[in-house]
């Protein structure tokens, strides 16, 4: 989640998000260099004494400032395309979690082992404890084992929603009548937050997503406890 001191993206909890962060940093560095160059050129226009009224053309410099941006774009495009295909890699998930977006809560189903279903509502501001994060905490979190590939199948019951957790680099639309699938792996324990990312009505800002990443043993006992409810 975003905290104080977070200027850009939060720290990643998944290898793919790490790669996204690196690509972002790489592209941003290139952009920064271009901006500094252009800023310097514009500033020097104010203070230099060059003038030449009969300028008509300069073929060499035209060649340079046409070829050079193409080269820069290649430096951005190659890592970007690599990551694009990496994100679509096929893998073998261990656990499948299904989520259905409703107006205005998420419901989750674990049907691999036992028939576990539950709803996840935001904790309202008047029922919050001191330590709860406003608009982010929910009553029932999704638990997943870490270092395991997780498959997420997302759909909606009524209108479009979008299921996302920024620290995992995951955002996937929940479309009614359609099953969208995404796969990810968490490489550290913790609690990760996200918020519905497709306008879905009055309480679109008040249906967050909270995922708790726990050890496989804890996950098994959690499944056992939930299946008895």
């Amino acid at each position: 989640m975003m905290t104080w001191k977070t200027l850009m993206s939060p720290d990643s909890a998944s290898p793919l998000m790490e790669q996204l962060t690196f690509l972002h940093d790489h592209a941003l560095m290139i952009l920064l260099m271009i901006t500094v160059l252009v800023g310097y050129l514009m500033a020097s226009l104010f203070v230099n004494k060059f003038n030449y009224r009969y300028l008509l053309e300069g073929q060499t410099i035209e060649m340079i400032w046409t070829i050079l941006p193409a080269v820069i774009l290649i430096f951005i495009a190659l890592p970007s395309l690599r990551l694009l295909y990496l994100l679509d890699e096929v893998n073998n998930p261990l656990v499948t979690v299904k989520t259905i977006g409703h107006q205005w809560y998420w419901s989750y189903e674990y049907t691999d082992f036992a028939n576990i279903e539950f709803d996840s509502y935001m904790i309202p501001s008047n029922e919050m404890e001191d330590y709860h994060f406003r608009l982010l905490d929910v009553d029932n979190r999704i638990a997943v084992p870490y270092n395991s590939q997780i498959r997420m199948i997302v759909t909606a019951a009524d209108v479009l929603h979008s299921w996302t957790i920024p620290t995992l680099g995951v955002k996937i639309d929940a479309t009614p009548g359609r099953l969208n699938q995404i796969s990810f792996l968490l490489n550290r324990t913790g609690i990760f937050f996200g918020q519905c990312s497709e306008i879905c009505g009055a309480n679109h800002s008040f249906m967050p997503i909270v995922m708790e990443s726990i050890s496989p043993e804890c996950f098994i006992s959690w499944i056992y406890n939930m299946s008895e409810i």
Binding site: M1, T3, T6, D11, M128, D130, H132, F133, I191
Partner: protein
């Protein structure tokens, strides 16, 4: 200034540039119009665009017409100018210059301080905009939610650190878990 340029260009479109100074060509309406505009001043060259206008510019130095009409004194000096220039005194040189030109280079290139007016006016307008913004913010102020109180923010921060949120380069990376305090 834009209006003045427009009027000038309209005048030059109307009065076609004809070679002036042709002897006895007073039946020429274009010549009459030009003489009405510049009086008796001598036309001495092409200038900026062939039009008989006076200007002071450093990048196109020689204007098309003299600044002042020729008087008898000046005509005398012009004859003397055709000889050795070392015979001219400083006042005579200055008189000849001022007859042909309105300002010297240092006079017309001198800073006008116009930038101060422009910057001042712009800053005043920006401050008016800022006052409007502040007024809107004051009028539409709503109280902050409960979770912004000091104790609740402390409780939330404690929970953020306990959860190791952003442990790599973010907030929790600045917390020393052994000493239970911020890293020094």
């Amino acid at each position: 200034m834009a209006g003045r340029l427009l009027a000038l260009s309209a005048r030059s479109i109307k009065a076609r540039p004809v070679p002036l100074g042709a002897a006895g060509a007073h039946s020429n309406p274009a010549l009459d119009a030009t003489r009405a505009m510049i009086g008796n001043r001598e036309i001495v060259g092409y200038g900026m665009n062939g039009q008989p206008h006076y200007y002071d510019r450093s990048d196109i130095p020689l204007p098309a017409i003299r600044w002042k009409e020729a008087t008898a004194d000046i005509k005398c000096l012009r004859e003397k100018e055709k000889g050795d220039w070392r015979q001219l005194s400083m006042e005579e040189k200055k008189a000849l210059y001022r007859a042909s030109f309105k300002l010297t280079y240092s006079e017309f290139k001198a800073p006008t301080g116009e930038w101060k007016q422009i910057v001042g006016a712009s800053l005043m307008l920006v401050s008016v905009a800022l006052w409007f913004y502040m007024a809107v913010r004051v009028v539409t102020r709503v109280p902050l939610p409960d979770s912004f109180s000091e104790e609740k923010q402390q409780a939330q921060l404690r929970r953020i650190l306990d959860l190791h949120v952003n442990p790599i380069t973010g907030l929790s990376s600045q917390w020393d878990y052994e000493k239970d305090d911020w890293k020094k």
